[in-house]
C-alpha cells in the first residue's frame, strides 16, 4: 500500500506568524478558539492537536516583547478541556523536563490519557535557561550540557511510573471486597544524579499504557534522545533536501536501539497558503509575509542578530553597514531561535547583506525572505500533490500544520486539501482506532 500521510495541527502560541491584525483573526486565549480549532482538525481526521510551551514572556532590550501574539493557556488544562469537545483527536502537549518533577508530570499525562480515553501525547523539551528559571522554585540551575541527561532520566523515571501499575487491574469486586487485582500497586524506586525518589504511583495504567512521546530538539543530543525513546519528532525541516537529510539521519539512528524505522514518525512543522489558483496563492502568500513582518518586527529581528539597539534604524533602507556586536549579553531573552542566530552573527550578517544587495532587498524585505516559512503555497490541488510527493519521498511521514489565522485558518485546508488527499488514497476517510497510538500506527508498550 502507498505510504499514508499523517496530519496534525499546531495551535500557534506565542509567535510572530499569526496575523493578529487580520479582521478574521479571533481570540487566541478564549477556550472557544481552541474548541473550534480542535473540532476543525477532527473534521479533517487529523491525528492530533499540538501545543508549544514557553514559560516566560520574551524580552528584548530588557523589556517585554510586545509585537507578537503573547499569552497562552496552561497546556494540561486546555488539553483536558478539549478532550470533552472532541472524540478522536490526539492531544499533544509540550512540557518541559527542567521545571517539573517526574511524579507530577507522569500523573498529569496518565490522567489526561484516562480523561481522553487514550489520546494523550507529551512533547518532551529541555529548555534550561536561567531567565525562564526565575519563575520556578528550582531556578535555572541546570547547565546546558546537563539538560538532555536530565531529560533522559526524567523520561525514564516517568516510564517507570507509568509501568508501575503493569499487571494491576481494577477488579472492583463488590462481593469479595477486593478492589485491585493486587495490593500495593505502583511501587517504584529511582535513584540517579537527578532523581532520588521512591514510593507508590497513584494513577492506574492508562488506556495507551504510556502516552505517545514526542521530541523537538535538533542538536546531536536531541536526535539521539529521539532515536532512543521517542515515538515521533516535531522537526523544523519541511523542505525537500533538508527534510530528506534529517529523515535519513534520524531514522538511521534507530537500529542501534533495536528499533525499526516505523517506530518513530517524523513530522515537520509546515505552514500553508491556499488560493483558487497558484498565482492567487502566491500573491496572498506575499501579503501574509508582509503582515507577519511589520516594520517594527523587522527592526526587532535585526536587533536580535546585530545584538544592538536599532531603535532609529530605517528598515526600508539597506541593512546596517556595521557588524553585529558579539560581546555582551544577548539583547533578546526567552527565545530559542536566537541561539541559532548567535552562532556566528558576523558571518550571517555578511551573508544577508550579500543577499540583500544581489536581490535589491530592503532590510525589511530581507527579513521577510529569511524568516518566511511558508511551506505549501498554491491551489488546493498543487498543495495536495506536493504533500503527497514529500511524504512518498521520505521528506517526512506527514506534517504538523501551523495556520496563520487563529482559530479559523485551518478550515480552508480541511475543506479543500483533505478531500484531494483522500481521493489520492493517501489519507484516511475515517479514524483507524480509538487511541492516538492506533491512529499513528504505533505499537503499544
Amino acid at each position: 500500500m502507498v505510504k499514508q500521510v499523517h496530519l496534525a495541527a499546531h495551535f500557534p502560541g506565542v509567535n510572530n506568524t499569526t496575523v493578529w491584525s487580520d479582521p478574521a483573526a479571533g481570540s487566541h486565549i478564549e477556550f472557544d478558539s481552541f474548541k473550534r480549532f480542535a473540532q476543525t482538525a477532527e473534521r479533517g481526521f487529523f491525528d492530533f492537536l499540538f501545543l508549544a510551551e514557553g514559560l516566560r514572556l520574551r524580552e528584548q532590550k530588557g523589556r517585554i516583547y510586545d509585537l507578537d501574539v503573547v499569552g497562552r493557556p496552561d497546556t494540561f488544562t486546555v488539553l483536558a478541556a478539549l478532550a470533552a469537545v472532541t472524540e478522536h483527536l490526539g492531544l499533544t502537549g509540550t512540557i518541559n523536563s527542567t521545571f517539573n518533577e517526574p511524579y507530577e508530570v507522569a500523573r498529569q499525562f496518565a490522567s489526561l490519557d484516562h480523561l481522553s480515553q487514550g489520546r494523550a501525547a507529551w512533547n518532551v523539551v529541555t529548555s534550561w535557561d536561567r531567565f525562564t528559571g526565575e519563575n520556578f522554585r528550582r531556578g535555572g540551575y541546570l547547565a546546558q550540557e546537563d539538560r538532555y541527561e536530565r531529560a533522559r532520566t526524567f523520561l525514564q523515571t516517568v516510564n517507570e511510573l507509568w509501568d508501575s501499575w503493569s499487571g494491576v487491574s481494577v477488579v472492583a469486586d463488590k462481593e469479595s471486597g477486593r478492589f485491585l487485582s493486587e495490593a500495593g500497586p505502583g511501587r517504584f524506586r529511582h535513584e540517579d544524579r537527578f532523581f532520588d525518589i521512591e514510593g507508590q504511583f497513584n494513577v492506574p495504567r492508562s488506556p495507551q499504557g504510556r502516552p505517545v512521546i514526542f521530541q523537538a530538539g535538533d542538536s546531536e543530543d536531541g536526535r539521539e534522545f529521539a532515536a532512543q525513546g521517542a515515538d515521533a519528532i516535531f522537526s523544523r525541516y519541511a523542505t525537500l533536501t533538508e527534510g530528506k537529510a534529517f529523515y535519513e539521519d534520524v531514522k538511521g539512528r534507530l537500529a542501534k536501539y533495536g528499533r525499526s524505522r516505523d517506530d518513530l514518525l517524523i513530522l515537520p512543522a509546515a505552514s500553508f497558503v491556499l488560493g483558487d489558483t497558484d498565482a492567487e496563492a502566491e500573491e496572498l502568500a506575499h501579503q501574509v509575509r508582509r503582515a507577519q513582518v511589520s516594520p517594527q518586527t523587522a527592526r526587532n529581528f535585526l536587533e536580535q542578530l546585530w545584538n544592538t539597539d536599532l531603535a532609529d534604524f530605517d528598515v526600508d533602507g539597506p541593512l546596517p553597514s556595521f557588524d553585529p556586536a558579539v560581546e555582551g549579553d544577548l539583547i533578546s531573552k526567552g527565545r530559542a531561535s536566537v541561539r541559532q542566530l548567535a552562532k556566528d552573527p558576523v558571518a550571517l550578517a555578511n551573508e544577508w547583506r550579500a543577499k540583500a544587495e544581489a536581490e535589491k532587498l530592503s532590510a525589511r524585505d530581507l527579513v521577510i525572505e529569511v524568516t518566511g516559512r511558508q511551506t505549501f503555497i498554491g491551489a488546493p490541488a498543487t498543495v495536495a500533490d506536493r504533500i503527497d510527493e514529500f511524504v512518498q519521498q521520505d521528506v517526512s511521514d506527514g506534517f504538523i500544520l501551523v495556520p496563520h489565522i487563529t482559530p479559523d485558518g485551518l478550515a480552508p485546508f480541511v475543506d479543500q486539501v483533505v478531500p484531494l488527499l483522500q481521493e489520492k488514497g493517501v489519507y484516511r476517510t475515517e479514524y483507524d482506532g480509538t487511541t492516538l497510538r492506533d491512529n499513528l500506527g504505533l505499537k503499544y508498550p
Binding site: 486565549i29 474548541k35 483536558a80 490522567s111 526565575e134 516594520p295
Partner: protein, 391 residues
C-alpha cells in the same frame, strides 16, 4: 429573598465512606473514566449548587493517616483533580469547579496558569482548594528537599506546631504568588494596535518580583488575567494554624464544627483573624441521606459493615432525611456548607433531588442559576480590582 444558603458538594472517588464502592449503585469500574465525573458534576449542576470540589493527593489513598497501607479493600488511585475539573468544564454552564492542589510539592507558577486556564474553559467558574502535603511518603515521591520529621501523633506539641506553622506560612506565600500572577496582566493588556504593531501594551504586564523564604518568582504569568480576575481561593482547616491561612489568604474556608455553637465560634474566630478581610466560612458535613431517618441509619450501618470498620471523619457525619439536614443547616446559620456525600451517586442525588427542593420550599436556595454565572457571582462576591492597575 434573604438569607440564601450556599451549597457545595465535595466529590471523591466512590464517595467519602470507605465502604461506598461496594454498594449496589456504585460504579467503581468507572472511577477513572471521564463519563463518571461528568455524570456527577452534571447531577450537581441540576441541583443548582454553587460549586463542586475535587479531592486530590500526591500519594495513594490509605486508611492510616500519614502513612501508606496495603489494604486492597479500598478505592486506590485517583486522577489529577485540576484535569478532572477541566475535563468537565466545557460540559457545564452554571456550577463552580474547585479542584484541590497540593501547594507543598507543586510550582505556584504552574498552578496559577492552570487555574486561570480552568477559569477560561469554564467562563469564570473556577476556584482552587489549596492543600498542604505533609506526609513523609509524599515527600519521597518528589525528593527535592529534606523531609522534616512531621509527627502526626505529636501534632499538639509545640515543636510540631511550629513545624506546621512553617508549612502553612509557605502555603500563604504560595497563594500570594498565585494571586499576584493572576493580576500580572491587566484586563486590557491585549491591545492589537495595528498602527504601532503592538499586540500587547507592555505597561499593563507586571513583574510580580516575589521573594520569600521558600521560593522566589519573577512573573509575569504566561496566561492573561482570567475572567474572574481572581478565581476563588479556598482551604480546609481544623485548627488555629490553618484558620490563619484561611483568614489571611483565602476567599472561602471550609471548617468542621460539630454543633451550632462550634460553628459560630469557629466562624467568629476566623473573622477575628481576618481583621476586616472578607472571608466566607462554610461547614463541611459528611452526609448519608434517605427518605426516612431509619433508612439513612440502616444504610450507614451497611456501609460500615461493608468497610469492616465504623467510619469516623474529621467532619460531623449526618445520617437522616433531607428535611432534617435542612433543619440543621438553618440552625447552624452559616453562609454555606460543603456536603461530602458518603456514597456516590446515592447521596449526591439525595442532595440535588431531596435537600435542594426542600431548601427551595423554605425560600433559602436558588431555583435557577443567573445567566452566564461566575463562581464569584454565585457567592455574591465582586470581581476584584487588579492590584497592579494604577488608579
Amino acid at each position: 429573598m434573604t438569607d440564601e444558603l450556599h451549597l457545595g458538594v465535595a466529590l471523591d472517588g466512590a464517595g467519602w465512606h470507605p465502604g461506598a464502592w461496594r454498594r449496589p449503585q456504585a460504579r467503581p469500574h468507572d472511577l477513572f473514566s471521564p463519563r463518571y465525573w461528568a455524570d456527577l458534576v452534571l447531577e450537581a449542576e441540576r441541583g443548582h449548587l454553587d460549586l463542586v470540589t475535587f479531592e486530590d493527593a500526591l500519594n495513594l489513598q490509605s486508611d492510616q493517616l500519614g502513612a501508606q497501607d496495603d489494604r486492597n479493600d479500598r478505592v486506590q488511585g485517583r486522577l489529577d483533580a485540576v484535569l478532572i475539573a477541566a475535563r468537565v468544564a466545557p460540559l457545564t454552564t452554571g456550577i463552580g469547579l474547585v479542584p484541590t492542589v497540593i501547594a507543598t510539592h507543586t510550582e505556584p507558577f504552574h498552578i496559577s496558569k492552570a487555574i486561570a486556564t480552568l477559569d477560561f474553559a469554564a467562563r469564570g467558574r473556577a476556584g482552587v482548594r489549596v492543600q498542604l502535603g505533609l506526609w513523609p511518603h509524599a515527600f519521597r515521591h518528589f525528593g527535592r528537599r529534606e523531609v522534616p520529621a512531621f509527627d502526626l501523633s505529636r501534632i499538639g506539641e509545640p515543636d510540631q506546631q511550629r513545624l506546621l506553622a512553617e508549612y502553612f506560612d509557605e502555603g500563604a506565600d504560595y497563594v500570594e504568588v498565585v494571586r499576584r500572577l493572576w493580576d500580572s496582566w491587566e484586563d486590557d493588556a491585549e491591545i492589537r494596535d495595528v498602527a504601532t504593531g503592538r499586540f500587547v501594551d507592555r505597561d499593563k504586564l507586571h513583574y510580580i518580583d516575589f521573594e520569600g523564604r521558600w521560593f522566589s518568582v519573577k512573573g509575569p504569568s504566561i496566561t492573561p488575567r482570567p475572567p474572574q480576575g481572581q478565581p476563588l481561593v479556598t482551604a480546609l482547616g481544623h485548627q488555629e494554624i490553618p484558620y490563619q491561612l484561611i483568614a489571611r489568604a483565602t476567599d472561602l474556608g471550609f471548617v468542621t464544627p460539630n454543633s451550632a455553637a462550634e460553628a459560630a465560634a469557629t466562624s467568629s474566630r476566623i473573622a477575628e483573624l481576618a481583621a476586616g478581610r472578607a472571608v466566607s466560612v462554610w461547614a463541611d458535613l459528611v452526609v448519608v441521606l434517605d427518605d426516612t431517618e431509619q433508612a439513612a441509619r440502616d444504610r450507614l450501618a451497611n456501609l460500615n459493615e461493608l468497610a469492616g470498620v465504623e467510619y469516623t471523619s474529621d467532619a460531623k457525619i449526618f445520617a437522616g432525611t433531607p428535611a432534617q439536614l435542612a433543619d440543621l443547616l438553618q440552625e447552624w446559620d452559616l453562609t454555606g456548607y460543603r456536603l461530602r456525600p458518603a456514597e456516590l451517586p446515592h447521596d449526591l442525588t439525595q442532595i440535588t433531588r431531596g435537600l435542594v427542593p426542600e431548601l427551595q420550599r423554605r425560600g433559602v436556595f436558588r431555583t435557577e442559576y443567573p445567566s452566564n454565572p461566575t463562581l464569584r457571582g454565585l457567592l455574591g462576591l465582586e470581581r476584584p480590582a487588579n492590584r497592579y492597575t494604577s488608579a
